[in-house]
Subunit: 337 residues, 4 copies
């Protein structure tokens, strides 16, 4: 496998899916070693940095990429296997941003209420223990939480000539903000434009499901990924695979629409893998589906439909590609940055 390292200079970040020239062309079966800046663009560095002062910019959630994948054509399926995610800083940050988040009114659904007060939390990252220290502002409560590094954003250029900000999750992937996007997972994305033009970013050292306040423990991330290409494929919405689970991610608004998209995608997948008709697949899914919410804070909400593979007969997806990528990842040995 070819191995490419790319650490963007500040001017090389991109803030959209679609609409940007590729930073480089890569072949399928390339190992990428990348740096992903945090969603704040690194502008929040202490508890004194509040969003309204330092985030007054349209350029949020910088993406590393896009990468043009040779041979990728509309209708193909891109596979991005996350080999390793390692926090690149000794701390992460989370912040209450005025009129942003799941428990405040937001510009697309405004009320006449005042915004919540601004507050920024800095989480020290203990890389030996792999924990993050939460310290309350309003009382003396502290707790060390295990890190759970993930990427908020993985996506390709959209269809229909659209260009979307990196803040939006949709059928092309993007800012899905699911904790399932962690090392060990393979993400499958339908290709919409020649070269696919995929990007990633938005490192989270830890995030709960829902990303309630709108920001995880945000931090720059070292990323190792293997990119591969499946000619054809039948996916519409993003799919994820781990050693133990199959997942589909829907995004939309209201949240039940995101759920429906992820469910129908999984019914399609169950049909591909097991030859079930859609009503049998619907029935089976009813009894085995897991449905963790991903985010309720972005312009579109995202939910995950998730199946434990161990409940079902073995049926390798995409010809067993995930297993192959796991093996290839293992063959890389330990990852250093």
């Amino acid at each position: 496998m070819e191995h490419v390292t790319f650490i963007p200079t500040p001017d090389q970040y991109r803030y959209t899916f679609g609409g940007a020239e590729p930073v480089m062309r890569i072949k399928p079966q390339t190992v990428l070693t990348l740096w992903a800046e945090d969603a704040y663009g690194g502008r929040i560095t202490s508890a004194d940095d509040v969003a309204s002062a330092v985030l007054d910019t349209p350029d949020l959630n910088p993406q590393t990429g896009p990468f043009h994948v040779e041979g990728a054509e509309p209708g193909d399926t891109l596979a991005i296997h996350l080999v390793d995610l390692t926090p690149a800083r000794t701390w992460g940050a989370s912040t209450l941003i005025p009129f942003f988040g799941g428990l405040t009114s937001v510009p697309v659904s405004p009320t006449l209420q005042d915004p919540l007060p601004e507050r920024t939390w800095i989480y020290e990252y203990d890389s030996a223990a792999e924990t993050l220290a939460f310290n309350a502002h309003g009382s003396d409560f502290s707790v060390a939480l295990p890190a759970n590094p993930m990427l908020g954003t993985v996506g390709v250029a959209p269809d229909r000539r659209e260009v979307r900000t990196a803040l939006v999750p949709d059928i092309f992937g993007g800012n899905m903000d699911t904790p399932e996007m962690a090392a060990g997972a393979t993400c499958y994305l339908r290709v919409n434009v020649p070269g696919a033009l995929f990007s990633l970013g938005d490192g989270h050292y830890r995030q709960g499901e829902g990303e309630s306040c709108g920001t995880a423990v945000e931090g720059a991330m070292h990323v190792t990924a293997i990119v591969d290409l499946i000619k054809g494929g039948n996916s519409a919405w993003p799919r994820l695979e781990t050693d133990t689970h199959l997942m589909c991610v829907g995004s939309g608004r209201p949240m039940e629409e995101a759920w429906r998209a992820s469910q129908v995608e999984m019914i399609t997948w169950l049909g591909e893998l097991y030859g079930l008709d859609r009503y049998d697949a619907y029935q089976l899914l009813t009894q085995i589906s897991l449905c963790p919410i991903a985010n309720v804070v972005d312009t579109n909400y995202s939910t995950v439909t998730k199946i434990d593979k161990r409940l079902l007969p073995t049926a390798p997806a995409y010809g067993g590609l995930h297993s192959e990528l796991r093996s290839a990842a293992a063959a890389l040995g330990s990852v250093n940055y």
Copy 2:
């Protein structure tokens, strides 16, 4: 503890929360051994029984109860600890009901499309292996799934003199349809009327999160529960506690509203347990929340906000009541029906 057994005769089932005379008065700290009929009222017994033929009745989802709990006053909190749930039949059933379920149009949001075809699946229950056999209709696929007995419905009489069908989940509990309502869990419900008037029903031998098609593997259930009363308490929406997790269940429509209710309830609870102000609790929840969807098929949707207690310092809820109930349950010895 007093120990009461109640097996309803057919005319003793109730189909609403509120609006029904109690079947009996019990004291706090009573052990209940109950029979709960399935949501079909036992009318589906073979794959030939389709919903449109045998479920043409307003009397769906029969409830066992209501029980008047002595001393329960509005503003108090009822605790219902599920000691044991054991399938009472050798098979369960699930069915596609016209214009009911998560992936069809429904009467409250109609389209002009035709309904899905009707189909009923019978799952044989192997009580030794504790598995349920799924058999596809459209192909010869079969798989044995582990049973996961739970109750779709636990609730009390609503506030404001309302009477709601047992098909609805809301702030009073009801048809929440979450797989979290399993043996080992304690459910806390705010009391709205003197005596609380709680009921339960809707046995599910297995259900995935979301209950996609609208019906789990439905089956009559033997239920052992301990009922206790907390004077006062601060809950609004239903709360659940297990040995490992704290949970709040919100119900509403669209689904993000159910999520918001469950999140704010958990923020309140974190404040009670740890003295966090609401912004610190919001932040902490952002990083540790689990958010499994419960159902996307009832008149209100339900979502769960769930926290792993092991992430946080020990802080017994309600004076450690859940542990006490666990001990009391253990003292009952093995349960027989």
Copy 3:
């Protein structure tokens, strides 16, 4: 026609649809002269009366009724023709209620934001000019607005043994809060229980579409109505007819579901009146539908689908009942209270 006058004593108000004994039995084709208290129960009488102080009660939106209509059976259609609505006080009131209204977070979809400040506006009613005086609090702006008396609430007992607060609009009518419910309109409601048990209330001297802040210019109302009964009928959701328009009212959440219900109801009605199949009716409706929003503030939102009869060939609904009721109303002569 029989003519009945009923002015409730304070203890005779009811706060639910369903669940209350009828205040009297009436025959079809009865003229009713009624008093309807305002939604505040008359508790707001000056700009100093703020909601949190004087509305701390579950007993809001008092209803006049229920009336048992002799011969009404489930599946029949009740017709309530509003002959006259006359403000019964010399002033009306509107108020910002904490966490209630369309531009604030609400308990079923909470945020962590503070409530809006409380404010009460008193509108003097000039009965000669039929205007209401709006006076701003924060500046010296004043304007006289034409009165547009209407009833927020008209409904029957719900189906499935339910009892709902008078604050809720749903398929049984209730708190639909549409300005279309004015003198000259006939409201058709499907009967769910023997006797129909209809009530009305919630006088509004004026209201815009949407009822943005949650309260119209609320005021006690003199009501003259004629009640009639149609055996059978095909309606599901409430229908309204005036000399110029046909309307269907859907209620639900999110708002598009209310819209869908009202649209499909109108498609059914167009089929009844013109023999159109549902696809032709859908097409015709697409080009002629008016869709004023009724309320976005209640537990369910309500929207109206409205057709100008003058666009279509004459086709009397329900055998021309509306015209007959108009004639009967005219024959009553001028109304005095």
Copy 4:
């Protein structure tokens, strides 16, 4: 005033807002005479042309433009006064498109139901009577409906570097599909990029509120408009002004979010015009708002908040620009194409 005529050649149509080079640069206070193709790109010409056969293209809803308006800077306000809209063909078309429209499941919120059958209706346009002939397919019903020419789509390039398909309405305008966008109206749009880059299209010979089935009586349109520029301005969402009404258009999903956006925009506008604080404006709006739904069929739904100017003291918006544009339009004399 300068007067520019632009009739696009087929390759000059654009299918996005943003992301396209301007077709020309114009000065503020330019009169434009334009041709707008129909949303089908002229591909539906008879009842035998069904969508699945002839609309299999990503290039739907062709736009005329974009026009670069000299001097327009982000934060300015573009004014587009519609002088005249004249049907450019002798017939219009409307069609049921599989999985598109308000009363079917749609790809972003899929169900497992089959699509509605396809049907295309051709409406002959009688230019003398200005009527459109509806003919049912399933029965022999016919009716002539008055034409009500309007534009479904008017918009500018979006903010944040986004490019959106011409099928989407959002804060930048776009496919709002409101019958209020008719001759005599002035549309105010916030400028997001230098030159504004506005386009228009999607001629409708007639449309009801909601655009239920997803397509109005679609037809190519002769358009005369005057474009002007307001430096600064305070709008966020699109505003409309006619001789009699002020309007704000919100777009989003679920529909209540579109409504909230339009309401808060109007509260801002009332503050600008009358010096009302936001709570007084909220109260006043509650009593005078009209709320016609625009569309419930696009990726975002649109609703209109509308105020009858005649209810309020005279207060010219934008220094009386609408009146000036009306005068300028009148000075053009009769329009010929």
